[in-house]
Subunit: 598 residues, 2 copies
C-alpha cells in the first residue's frame, strides 16, 4: 500500500496564484490575519498529520472496523491515539468562533485540510467533520448560554458532535420523522425516538458526544414545518459545561455493516426520554440544521477528491514503475524486459482523466469555499449577498459532481493496477468503497441535482445562474489579454451559450409540467459541473500561462497543468453535447412506464 | 436482502422471439436435439438452482469468505453442499463433449444459465465457470489420451479446473512468465514456478483440481512464442483417470484478500517440480489457451449483467415500496403518508437506465453466444467462418462494454436505495464489489479495447466491422416492412454511418502513428458497444411490435420493452457524439505529458 502524499504544490498554487487567497483574506477584517505565511505553515502542518498520523492507520481501520458490544463502540486500533494527537495540535477548533475558543480560520483554508485528512483516512476524518458541522450549527443558532456550555469543549476536541436526522422510515423526506420532544417545566425537553445512519453516534475517542437532534413537539404542525432542533448530550452537562457524572438516556443500538468507511461508526441511536435543549426557534429545526449543510456538503466533495487523489498517486507511481509490454512505437527501455505501462496511450488516458478531474474538482471546492468565506466574513452586504447566491448554486454541484467524479476516479485508479487494484494490498479498492458513500450521504446526489434544478434554477427563474455567468464574463474580460488564452476561452463561451439556452428551455417546460424538473435535473447538474470544471481549468490556465512565459515557477508542474487542461478540453468536455440531448429529451420517456412495467 | 429471481420471461423472449433459437439449433446437426421444450425445461431447472440453492448462500459467502490454513482452503458454509447438489443435477457437463460424457449443449443456452448463476452467487459460479473453460481447452487441444484421463471426471463435476496464467511480474504481458517446464524421459514435464490470481486454485469442493498451466521449456524462444500449455493435476492421476493417492507438488501459498467475490478462492499457486503433460503443440500454449478465452470473456459480461439484474430487481422493488415525499404533480397515494419513490422522474431515470442496459447487454451476450455456436456447430464452412469473424469482433465488446455497464448499473441500483444501498443488509453493495472484478480479469477492459481497435479493426483493415455492418443492413432490410419500425431504424442507420467514418479515420491515422490505436481504443470500444446495444434494441422492437399489434403475448412486458427502448434512444444513445469527439481527438493530448509531469 502506498502512503498518502498531501498535494501541497497543487493546493498552494491554486490558493495563491489562481484564487489569490491573500487578497481575498486581506479584504475582510475577520480573515485579515490569515497571511500567506500562516496559510503555508498550517497547510504544511496539516500535511504532516495526514501523512504521518492518519495515513498509516487507514488500512487497519478498514480491516478492523468499529466494534459494538452492549452499546459500547470501539474504534479501530490507533484511532484513539491519533485523535489525541489531533486534539493536542489544536486542529479541532480551527474554524471555530473565536469568542468561544475557536481559531476562526476560513473555509478556503480548512477545506484543503479536509481534503488531505479525507484522502489519508476518510473514516478518521468523519469524526472531526461531524463535530465541525455540529459546532457550526450551535454557533449560528444556539443561545449564548448553550454555546458557552458546549462550544469550548468541542473546539478543544474533548467532545465530538453528531447530526441526528434520518429515521428508519424517513431519510430524504424528513417531514415524516417521529422522534418526539416533550417540553419540561425547566425549559428543557425530553427527547424520545430512534435515529439511524448517525455518523460518530457512539465511539471511544472522547468523554462526551453532543447530538444535534431533529424532533417534533407533540402538537407540532405536520410535515417539515413541525421540525425543531435540539442539542442532546450523551452524558449530562451542567450549566458550567462540566459533566455531572450522569447519563442522559442516549444509547447506541447497533453499528451498521457497510461497504466502506468501516472505521467510522455509523450508529443506530436510541433516545429514551433524553434531556435536550432547543436550538433556535421552535419549528425552524430543518432550516437551522441546513445552515451548516452547505459546509458539510462541500466536505463530501472534498472527501471524494481526496480519495481520488490518493488513488491517482498510487496509480501514477504504479504506471511509472510496472513494466509490461512495449510502447507501440518500439521499446522505450530496451535495457529492461519491458517498458513501464505509462508508455501506453490508454493508461495515460486513465491517468489524465483522473488528474483533470481531481485538479478541477479541487479548484471548484476552493471556489465554493471562498464564496462561503465571503458570505460569512465580508464587510460589504452586497458582496455577502452575491456570495450567498453563488454558494446556493455551487454547493449542490460541488457535492454531487465532485463526489460522482471522485468515485469514478477511484474506480479508474483501480483499473490502472489491474488485478492488483482489486486486492486489498494496494489500498485502491478501499478508496473505491470509502468514496462511494459521498454520493449518498448529506443528501443523495439525485437530491442535490433536484435542489439545483428546482429550487435554485427553475424557482429562482435562472437568477442564480445569471450571477455565475456574470462571474464567468468578468473572468473572460480580464483573461482575454493574457497571451495564449485566446485559444482556450471559446470553450467557456460555447459552454455558457449552451447552458443559457438549455436553462431557458427547462424553465419553460417546467411551467407546464413540474415533472420536467426531475426529468432534467441529473443531466443538468452534470452539465453545470462540466461547465464549472471548464471554468476552473481556464482560471488555472490564466494563472499558469504568464508564469510559463516569464519562465518563473516550477516548469514541469506548470506545463503539466497546460497539457492536462488540453486533455480536458479535447477528451472530457465534449460530453456537454450528450448532456444537452438528455436534458432536452424531457419527461415523457421517463413517465411513460407504469409501476408494473418496471 | 432480496432474493434473486431468474429473469426467465426476458430470457425466453429473447431466445425464442428475437434470436429464434429453435431455427438456429434446428439448422445444425450438433444442436438439432435442442428443442424449444428442452430449452424451457433446462432454463426452468437452472432458475431453481439459482434461486433456491445459490442465492440463499450468497451473502454469507461474502461475509465468511474463503479461509486459508497451512495450504488448505475452506470455502464458505453451504458451498460444498450446494456444489454437491449442482453436480448431482448434472450441470457440470452441460456443454461438454458428448464422447467424453458431456451433454453438448450450445453456449446460447448455457450463457443464460451462467447469467443466472452469476446473478445469484458470483463466487459460487466461478468454481463452475473455470472448470468449463479448462474442459473446453482440453477438449480442443489435448490428446485423446489426456482427454480420456481428465474430461469424464470434470464433466461429472468430481474434479474442477483452473487456468494458471498470471505471475507476479507478468499479467498482461505473458511473454515474461518464468514458470519452467523440464522434459522428462517418459514424455511428461516437471513444472516449477509461482502463479498468482488463480481462481479456484485450491478449495474443498472436490477430490482433485486440474490446473492448466502456461510455462516455458528451458530452451524455449523468448517472449510469447516460447509459451507452452500443460495439464497439471493437484493429486496424481493414473492412465485410467484414477487417483494414485499421491500428491503432485502443487500447493496453495495464500488466498488473496479482495474487494469482492470473497467466496471464490483467488490463490497463489506454487508448482514445485509438479508432473504435467503437454496440451497441444510445444510453444503454442498462448494460442491454445486463448481458444477458450472467447467463451470465458463472454462469461465475464454475463457475470456483470446477472449482478446488474439482481440489483435492478431489488431497486425496482424498493422504488415501488419505499414511500418518501410526494409526486411533483401532487399526491399519488393520498391515503398514505407519502408516495412511493417511483413517482420521481429521477428515480425512474436510474431504473430505466438499468433496465435498458441490462436487456441490451443480455441480448448482446446471446448474439455473441449464437455466433460461438454457429462457429462450432454449423455444417457450412462459410457460415462458420462468418461467425468466427463476428465472434472476433463481438467478444471484446461483450466482455468490456457489458462489464462496464454492469458495474455502473450495480452502482446505480445502490443509489436508488440511498443509505440502505451502502449497508450490507440489502446486498446491493456486495453486487457492486462482486461486479467490479469482471472489468479486470480475463484481460482488463483496456486490453479488450486495444484488441478490438488494433488486431480486430486496424490490422484487419476494417473487414470484421464490414461483416457486422452487413448483418445490420440485412436486419434493416428485413425489418423495414414491420409496421412502426420506420420510427426507430434511423437510429441504427445514423450509428452505422458514424462508425464507418470514424473507423476509416482511425485506420488512416494509425498508418502514420501506431499510438493512434491505443489513443482511440477505449472510446471506440464504447462506441461499438453503444451501437450494438442500439442494434439489440431494434432487434427486440422488431419482435415486440408485431406481437403488440396482434395483441398476443404479455402486454405489460411488451409495452414495457417499447418504452425502455424509447428511453434508450432518447437518453443513452446521444453519448455516441461525445465518443466520436474523443476518438477524433487523437493521440497528441495523451502523449504530450512527460513521465514526471504525471
Amino acid at each position: 500500500m502506498n502512503a498518502y502524499r498531501a498535494p501541497l504544490g497543487d493546493m498552494q498554487f491554486l490558493m495563491s496564484e489562481v484564487f489569490r487567497a491573500d487578497e481575498v483574506f486581506a479584504a475582510m477584517p475577520g480573515t485579515a490575519e490569515v497571511t500567506p505565511d500562516l496559510i503555508s505553515a498550517i497547510l504544511e502542518e496539516a500535511a504532516k498529520i495526514a501523512e504521518n498520523l492518519l495515513s498509516p492507520i487507514n488500512r487497519n481501520g478498514d480491516h478492523e472496523g468499529c466494534q459494538w458490544t452492549d452499546g459500547v463502540v470501539t474504534t479501530p486500533a490507533g484511532f484513539k491515539e491519533a485523535y489525541e494527537e489531533y486534539v493536542a495540535g489544536g486542529w479541532a477548533g480551527l474554524t471555530g468562533e473565536i469568542d468561544f475558543g475557536g481559531q476562526g480560520m476560513p473555509k478556503l483554508l480548512s477545506s484543503q485540510i479536509e481534503e488531505m485528512f479525507f484522502g489519508a483516512n476518510s473514516s478518521f476524518a468523519l469524526y472531526t467533520i461531524l463535530t465541525t458541522g455540529a459546532t457550526l450549527t450551535l454557533s449560528e443558532h444556539a443561545s449564548a448560554e448553550l454555546k458557552q456550555r458546549y462550544l469550548p469543549k468541542m473546539y478543544e476536541g474533548r467532545w465530538t458532535g453528531t447530526m441526528c436526522l434520518t429515521e428508519p422510515h424517513a431519510g430524504t423526506d424528513l417531514g415524516m420523522i417521529r422522534t418526539k420532544a416533550v417540553p419540561q417545566a425547566d425549559g428543557s425537553y425530553r427527547i424520545t425516538g430512534t435515529k439511524i445512519f448517525i455518523t460518530a453516534g457512539e465511539h471511544d475517542l472522547t468523554e462526551n458526544i453532543i447530538h444535534l437532534v431533529l424532533a417534533k413537539l407533540p402538537d407540532a404542525p405536520a410535515g417539515p414545518k413541525g421540525i425543531s432542533l435540539f442539542v442532546v448530550p450523551r452524558n449530562a452537562v451542567d450549566n458550567e459545561g462540566d459533566l455531572t457524572g450522569e447519563l442522559n438516556g442516549v444509547s447506541c443500538g447497533a453499528v451498521e455493516h457497510k461497504m466502506g468507511i468501516k472505521g467510522s461508526a455509523t450508529c443506530v441511536m436510541n433516545f429514551d426520554s433524553a434531556q435536550g435543549w432547543l436550538v433556535g426557534e421552535l419549528n425552524h429545526g430543518l432550516s437551522n440544521m441546513f445552515t451548516m449543510m452547505n459546509y458539510e456538503r462541500l466536505s463530501m466533495g472534498l472527501q471524494s477528491n481526496g480519495l481520488a487523489d490518493s488513488s491517482y498517486q498510487t496509480a501514477a507511481d504504479y504506471a511509472r514503475e510496472r513494466i509490461q509490454g512495449r510502447s507501440p512505437t518500439g521499446p522505450q527501455q530496451p535495457e529492461s524486459a519491458a517498458d513501464p505501462i505509462l508508455v501506453h496511450p490508454d493508461v495515460r488516458r486513465m491517468l489524465l482523466t483522473m488528474r483533470a478531474n481531481i485538479m478541477a474538482g479541487r479548484a471548484l471546492s476552493m471556489y465554493a469555499a471562498m464564496q462561503l468565506d465571503i458570505s460569512r466574513f465580508h464587510p460589504d452586504p452586497e458582496q455577502r449577498q452575491q456570495a450567498d447566491r453563488l454558494v446556493a448554486l455551487l454547493i449542490p454541484v460541488a457535492k454531487a459532481y465532485c463526489s460522482d467524479r471522485g468515485f469514478e476516479m477511484c474506480v479508474m485508479g483501480q483499473q490502472v493496477l489491474g488485478g492488483h487494484g482489486y486486492v486489498a494490498e494496494w489500498g485502491l479498492e478501499q478508496n473505491v468503497r470509502d468514496a462511494r458513500i459521498a454520493q449518498i450521504y448529506e443528501g443523495a446526489n439525485g437530491i442535490q441535482a433536484l435542489d439545483l434544478m428546482g429550487r435554485k434554477t427553475v424557482r429562482a427563474g435562472g437568477e442564480l445562474l445569471a450571477v455565475l455567468l456574470t462571474e464567468m464574463d468578468k473572468f473572460v474580460a480580464d483573461a482575454q489579454d493574457i497571451p495564449g488564452m485566446d485559444r482556450y476561452l471559446p470553450h467557456l463561451l460555447n459552454n455558457q451559450q449552451m447552458i443559457r439556452s438549455v436553462t431557458r428551455s427547462v424553465i419553460d417546460r417546467a411551467s407546464d409540467n413540474p415533472e420536467e424538473i426531475g426529468a432534467a435535473s441529473y443531466a443538468y447538474m452534470e452539465l453545470l459541473g462540466l461547465t464549472l470544471y471548464n471554468f476552473m481549468w481556464l482560471r488555472i490556465l490564466a494563472a499558469v500561462l504568464p508564469k510559463l512565459q516569464a519562465g518563473s515557477g516550477d516548469t514541469p508542474h506548470l506545463s503539466g497543468l497546460v497539457k492536462t487542461a488540453e486533455f480536458f478540453f479535447a477528451r472530457l468536455l465534449p460530453r456537454t453535447r450528450a448532456l444537452i440531448d438528455e436534458i432536452e429529451a424531457g419527461a415523457q420517456t421517463l413517465m411513460a412506464m407504469s409501476a408494473e412495467e418496471f
